[in-house]
Amino acid sequence: MSRPEGTRSSRRSLQVKFVPDEDVLKHIADDAGTKVRKDKAQLSITMKRFVKKLENISDNEAQEILEEKNYVAALGVCAQDPVGNGSNISGGEVYSFQTPKRSSKMAELASELAQTPEQNVTPDHSKCPEKMAKTPQSNSNFLGAEIVWKCNLKKKEFVSTTPYRLRKRLAAPDPYLESESEYSASCSEEEDEEDQKEVSTVLSSQKIPGRTKAASTPPPRNSLAKKIKEQKMGNLVEEYFEAHSSSKVLTSDRTLQKLQKRRLNQQTLHDLLKKAPLAYAAEIRDLNQQHESLFSKWMLQLHLGFNIVLYGLGSKRDLLEKFRTSLLQNSVHLVVNGYFPSITVRSILNSITEEVLDHIGTFRSPLDQLEFIIKRFKEDSSLELYVLIHNLDSQMLRGERSQQILAQLSSLPSIYLIASIDHINAPLMWDQAKLSLYNWLWYETTTFSPYVEETSYENSLLVQQSGSLALSSLMHVLHSLTLNARGIFRLLAQHQLEKKDNPSYPGLSFHDFYQQCREAFLVNSDLTLRAQLTEFRDHKLIRTKRGADGVEYLLIPVDDSTLTDFLEKEDEDV
C-alpha cells in the first residue's frame, strides 16, 4: 500500500525534471492507465497521508513552479460543467449546492484555481500561437479552455477535469478516463517548469504554496471524490460552511493597477463597446422576432387578469420598449425603470397619483397612497393603466414592502403589469401570498442582448468605474469648502495613502489627526476639528469607526487610486 505511493511520488519529482512533452503523451496513453488503476484503489484508503506527502513535495518545488498561463488555463476550463445541455436539466443540477468536483477538502477547494496544471498539457501560448491554432493538440496549448473544448472531441484522455462528473454517471468507467487526472498532474508540473522560464510576471509568494499543493493533489482528489460520491454527498452543507469559514483565500494578488491600465469611465466604456460589433446579431434578431410574435397574446392575457413576467438571459428592455411602442400607444401607461438606482415605490405611486389620477396632495405613507389608488380604480371602471417595469428585481424594488405594494397594485383588475426579472434569485422575492396577488404568467424571453442601460449606473458596476464618479464628487464637495477644511482633508488623504500597503489599517485615530492638524496650523481646538469632521461625514467624505480600544478612527471610504488622483488634481489646483 505504501509502496505504490512511494514510487509515485518519486516518479513525480522525476517527471518534473526530465520527461518531455511527447513522452507525457505516450506515457498517458500506455502504461499510465494500467498503473494508475492499480494505485487508485489503494489511494482511496490512504489518501490522507498521501496528501500530506504531496504537500511536502510541493513545498520543495514551490519556488520553481508557477506562472499565470496555467492559471489562465484553469480559468479557461469551461467544460467542467457537464450539466449544461439543453433546457431539460433537472432542477437538482442547477440549484443544488453541488460541489462534486472539489467536494472534499478545504485545501482543494481553495486551490481550485490550480486545477489548471491538470489539463495544461502544453507550453505557453505566447510561444507559438499560430501553430496551435491548426492542430487540435497545439490548439490546446493555447489555453486550457480550448483544450477542453476541443479535446472533448478528439482526445478524451487529456481532458482531465471535464468529463469527471460525466464519468461518474457512466456505469462502467473507462480506465483511461479514470486515470488521466492523476497523470495530468505530473505532466502539468513538468510543464510548469517549462513555462516558468518564459513567463515574466511572477506571482506573489502567497499564491505559490497553494497552487503547487493543488497541482499535486489531484490523485487523491479523484479517489476522494469517488468516495464521497458513494456517501451520496451527504455532508454538502457542512462542506459549504467549511469552505466559507476560512478567511484565507488563495488567489493571486495582482491588481488592476499593476496592469498599467487606465481606468475606463462610463463614457469611454460606452464608446468602446459601440465599436465592438454585437456578436450574433442575426440570431438575436431571430430570437427577438419570436418574442415579438407573442405581443398580442400578452395583451390578451393582460386583459384577462393575468400579469406577465419575463425572464431569461439578456436585456428585455428593448423588447418591452417595442411592446410599448407597438401596442400601448393608445392607452395610459407607466414605464418604470427599476434598474435606476434611485427609484422607489414611492416614486412609482406618486407618478400614478399625480400624473395618472391627477391628484394633488401628499400622502402620509405609501400604504395610504396605495389605498387611495385602489379606491380610485375601483370607483372608476373606465380607468385603465398599463405598468411596465424593467427589472422588477432591482436593488431598490426587491424589498419585501415594495414588492407587497406592487403586488397589491398589480392585483387590481384594471392595472395591467408587465415586468422583467434578471437576477437568478428573483423568484425568491415572492411568497405564495404575493404570487397570488401578482397572478403571474411566466414567459421566457432570452434575448442575449447586452444589458446596456441596466448596468450603466454607477452602483451597478464594478470597481473599474467607481473611480471617476467618486472623484468628481470629491472634487465638487471639496471645492465648496474653506481652504482650511481642504487642508484637513488632504492631511487625512495623504496619511491614508501612506498606509495603503497595510491591509489592516484601521484609519487615523482622532487624537493623532488632531495633533497633525494643529501642527499644520489648520485647527486650533479639537472642537473646530470635530465640527469640520461632522461636515465631512455629512457629505460622506469620511467614515468614523470605533476601534476595539474605544478610539475613534477616521477613514476615507474611497479606493486608493481615486485618492491618488484626487491629490494630484489638488496639487494642480494649488
Binding site: G76, C78, P82, V249, L259, L264, D422
Partner: protein, 706 residues
C-alpha cells in the same frame, strides 16, 4: 425612473379591445369573434360554478361560526348578572379558524365570512393583516379606521367631513373605541324606527364587534398580547369577538401567546374544509362532467395537479391554471369554435368556412379516421365540404356520447378500485381519470392487479359496490346504460339467491375439521398438500363463479367505454393538450433558462459556430458565456486581473489566431470594455458581487457546479 405616457386619442372600451387582441393573431380565420365569445362565456360559467362550489363547501363552516358568534355575547345581550357569567366576562370569545397552508385561498374564505357576518350578525367587522399591524398603535388605527368606515357605510354615507375625521384618526385608544361603540349603538336605538327597522331586525341591539386576524402566525407576539390584554379589560363595555385565521395548527396560539394572555381567551376551534377535498370536488364538478364541452388532456391535468400537490395546495391557482388552459385552447386552436354545447354544434359546423374544413382535414385524429374508411368515402371526406360537415357533426355527437359514458363508467370503476387494498389504480378518482386518459387502462399492470384483487372481494363488499354502480348508472344521462343496469341488477339478485344455496359449503368445512385432528407434522403437511391440490382442481363455488362473472363484466365495460380520448376522432377540438406551454407559464424555471443560456448558447442562438458536442462551449460564444464559464473555475473570490487575462486569451484566440504577438501583452481596450460589460452583467444576474476582502476581487455568489 418613472414615466407616464398618456395618449391624446380617446381609448376604446376594454372588452372590445380584448376581443381585438384575440383576433389579431389568427387573422386567417374569421371565427375568432365567435371563439372569443365562446371562450368568455365558458369561462364565466366555470367561474360561477367554482364560486358556487366554494360557497357550498364553506357553508357548514360559516354556519358554525355564525352560531358561535351569536352565542358568544348572549350574556351581554341579556345583561345577566350571574356570577359565572361575570367570571367569564374577562374572557374574550375567540374562534380559531384552521384554514390550512393554502394561504392564497384564505382571502376568499374571509370574504365569504365577512359577507355572511355582515348579513347576519353585525356590521362591525374589522379584517386585520399582519403587514398593516407592526405595532399596537398601527393595529388600533387600522381597527378603528375599518370600524368607523363601515359605520359610515351603514349610515348611508354622511358627509365627506366624517371621512376626513376618520382619516385623521381622532385618537386611537380603547376608550375612544368604546365611546364610539356606545354612540353608535345609542344612535341606532334612538334613530327613527322607520329607517333603521331593517338593519336592526338583522342585527341585534348591540351587535358584537368582530375582529378578524387574517394571518395570525405573522403577527408579532407583542402586538397580539397587548391587544388581547387591553381589550379583555374592556370586554364589559365592548362586546368583542376575535377570529384567528390559522394556516398551520392550533398549537400556534399557545406558542405565540403566553399562558397569562391565552387564559384571557375563550377559544373555540373551527376546521375549514381541507384543500384536497376542495380540489376533488372541483375536479368532480368541472372535469368529470359532460356539462362543459372543454376538456383537459392527461398531461395538462397532471401538470395542474402537480402544481397543486407539490407547490401550493391552492385551489385558486388550480382554477387559474384551468382558466389559462381555456384561453390557450381557444386562442391557439382555430377549430375550438366547435368546442361548444351540443345544441350549438350543428349550426356552427354548417357555417364553417372552407379553410376551417381544411383545418379539420389536417387534424391527425381525423386523418387516422379517414384512413380507416373505404376509398369512396375517403375521397368524399377529403373533397366534399358539406359531406365533411355532416360527418363532423356526427363525430362530434359521438364524442359527446363518449364523454357521458366515459364519466359514468369511470365512476363505477372508481367504486371498485377505491376499495381495493393498496389502491393499485389510486385512491382518488382524479388518479384513475389520469390513468384512463393516458393510455388504455386495461393494458396497464395496475389494472391487471386491481382486477385480480377485485376477484378476491367478499360478497358484502361486492354487493354494495354493485348497488353503487347501479345508482351511478341510473343517474347518468347516457342512454346506453339500460342494459347494463339490468345486467347489474341481475347480478345482484343472483347474489341474493346464493345466500340460500350457501349450505353446500359444508364439504370444505368438514375437510378442515379433519385437518384439525392431525397432530403429526408429516401427515399434516401431506394433508395440506392434498388440500391445496384439491382446491386447485376443485370446481369453483357458485359464489366464486359469479364473482368472476361480475369482474369480467366490469372489465368488458371498461374496455368498451374507457378508451383514452386520444384515440377518439376529433378529440383535438375539445381537449387541450399543450402541457409544456402551461408548465412554462405557470411553473417556470428562470434559473434553468439562465443556466441553459449561459452554458449552451447554441440552444438559443442557432449558429453553427456555437455548436459544440459534449458539455463545453465554443470560444466564440457570447462574452457573457465565456466570462461565466471562466468564473465557474474559481473559488470564493475571483481576481479580476486574472479573470480579465483569461478572458482576453479566449477572446483573442477566437478572433485572430494569427494576431500580432506584440499586442498580446497589453490587453486591448475593446476587450477590456467587453470584459467589464460581461462582468457587470454577471453582477446584475447575481452571480458575483464586489468584495472588499481583497483589492480587485469579486466574490462568487453561487456555490458549486451551477
Amino acid at each position: 425612473g418613472c414615466f407616464v405616457f398618456k395618449p391624446s386619442t380617446k381609448k376604446r372600451r376594454s372588452s372590445e379591445k380584448t376581443a381585438h387582441d384575440f383576433r389579431s393573431r389568427s387573422d386567417d380565420s374569421e371565427d375568432t369573434e365567435l371563439r372569443f365569445v365562446t371562450c368568455q362565456s365558458l369561462w364565466n360559467q366555470i367561474k360561477s360554478e367554482t364560486e358556487q362550489i366554494q360557497e357550498d363547501l364553506n357553508k357548514q363552516l360559516l354556519d358554525n361560526l355564525v352560531n358561535f358568534l351569536s352565542r358568544s355575547h348572549s350574556e351581554f345581550q341579556e345583561k345577566t348578572t350571574e356570577w359565572t357569567c361575570r367570571m367569564k366576562f374577562r374572557e374574550i370569545p375567540t374562534a380559531a379558524l384552521v384554514l390550512g397552508v393554502n394561504v392564497t385561498d384564505h382571502d376568499l374564505t374571509f370574504r365569504g365570512l365577512s359577507d355572511v357576518l355582515q348579513d347576519n350578525i353585525t356590521p362591525y367587522i374589522a379584517l386585520l393583516e399582519a403587514k398593516d399591524c407592526l405595532g399596537i398603535k398601527n393595529l388600533m388605527q387600522k381597527l378603528m379606521g375599518q370600524l368607523m368606515n363601515c359605520d359610515i357605510d351603514v349610515d348611508s354615507l354622511e358627509d365627506e367631513d366624517c371621512v376626513q375625521v376618520s382619516q385623521n384618526r381622532i385618537r386611537c385608544s380603547m376608550s375612544s373605541l368604546i365611546s364610539w361603540y356606545e354612540s353608535v349603538t345609542k344612535k341606532t336605538d334612538s334613530e327613527t324606527p322607520s329607517k333603521k327597522r331593517n338593519s336592526s331586525s338583522r342585527h341585534w341591539q348591540s351587535p358584537p364587534v368582530v375582529v378578524i386576524f387574517k394571518d395570525m402566525e405573522s403577527f408579532t407576539t407583542k402586538v397580539l398580547q397587548d391587544f388581547i390584554a387591553i381589550s379583555s379589560q374592556h370586554i364589559h363595555e365592548l362586546p368583542l369577538v376575535l377570529i384567528f385565521g390559522i394556516a398551520t395548527s392550533p398549537m400556534i396560539i399557545h406558542r405565540l401567546l403566553p399562558h397569562s394572555v391565552s387564559s384571557l381567551l375563550c377559544i373555540e376551534l373551527f376546521q375549514s374544509l381541507s384543500c384536497k377535498e376542495h380540489l376533488s370536488t372541483i375536479i368532480d364538478k368541472l372535469l368529470l362532467t359532460s356539462r362543459f364541452p372543454f376538456k383537459l388532456g392527461e398531461k395538462v391535468l397532471q401538470v395542474l395537479i402537480n402544481i397543486f400537490l407539490y407547490h401550493d395546495f391552492s385551489v385558486q391557482n388550480f382554477i387559474k391554471g384551468f382558466q389559462l388552459c381555456i384561453v390557450e385552447h381557444f386562442y391557439s386552436q382555430p377549430l375550438s369554435v366547435l368546442c361548444c354545447q351540443l345544441v350549438d354544434v350543428k349550426k356552427r359546423v354548417y357555417s364553417l368556412s372552407h379553410d376551417q374544413c381544411e383545418n379539420i382535414r389536417r387534424l391527425p385524429s381525423f386523418r387516422r379516421y379517414v384512413e380507416k374508411q373505404e376509398s369512396g368515402k375517403q375521397i368524399e371526406l377529403l373533397t366534399n365540404d358539406s359531406f365533411l360537415k355532416e360527418e363532423t357533426e356526427k363525430l362530434l355527437e359521438d364524442l359527446h356520447v363518449y364523454h357521458e359514458n366515459y364519466v359514468s363508467i369511470l365512476r363505477c370503476l372508481h367504486v371498485f378500485t377505491s376499495s381495493l387494498p393498496k389502491y393499485p389504480l389510486g385512491k382518488q378518482i382524479r388518479e384513475l381519470h389520469c390513468a384512463c386518459l393516458e393510455s388504455r387502462v386495461w393494458e396497464t399492470e395496475e389494472y391487471e392487479s386491481s382486477l385480480q384483487l377485485a376477484r378476491m372481494l367478499n360478497k358484502t363488499d361486492l354487493v354494495t359496490m354493485l348497488q353503487q354502480c347501479v345508482e351511478i348508472l341510473m343517474s347518468s344521462s347516457g342512454k346506453e346504460f339500460d342494459k347494463t343496469v339490468e345486467k347489474l341488477k341481475e347480478f345482484l339478485t343472483q347474489f341474493q339467491n346464493l345466500e340460500e344455496a350457501s349450505q353446500e359449503r359444508d364439504v370444505s368445512v368438514s375437510s378442515q375439521k379433519e385437518l384439525q385432528k392431525k397432530t403429526d407434522l408429516y401427515h399434516l403437511q401431506k394433508t395440506l398438500l392434498e388440500l391445496k391440490e384439491s382446491r386447485r382442481s376443485k370446481k369453483l363455488t357458485k359464489f366464486e363463479m359469479l364473482r368472476f362473472e361480475v369482474v369480467d363484466y366490469i372489465d368488458s365495460l371498461v374496455r368498451k367505454y374507457l378508451v383514452p380520448a386520444d384515440d377518439r376522432t376529433l378529440h383535438e377540438i375539445v381537449y387541450f393538450n399543450a402541457a409544456t406551454v402551461l408548465r412554462g407559464h405557470l411553473n417556470a424555471a428562470p434559473r434553468t433558462a439562465l443556466h441553459t443560456a449561459l452554458n449552451n448558447p447554441h440552444w438559443y442562438l442557432k449558429n453553427q459556430a456555437l455548436k459544440c458536442d459534449g458539455g463545453g462551449i465554443s470560444n466564440k460564444a457570447p462574452d457573457i458565456c465565456i466570462v461565466y464559464k471562466l468564473h465557474l473555475e474559481c473559488g470564493r473570490l475571483i481576481n479580476l486581473v486574472d479573470w480579465l487575462e483569461a478572458f482576453s486569451t479566449v477572446v483573442m484566440a477566437a478572433e485572430e489566431p494569427n494576431a500580432d504577438g506584440a499586442s498580446s501583452d497589453q490587453v486591448d481596450d475593446i476587450i477590456h470594455a467587453r470584459f467589464i460589460r460581461a462582468v457587470s452583467e454577471l453582477e446584475l444576474l447575481g452571480f458575483i458581487k464586489p468584495s472588499k476582502q481583497k483589492t480587485d476581487h469579486v466574490a462568487r455568489l453561487t456555490w458549486g457546479g451551477c
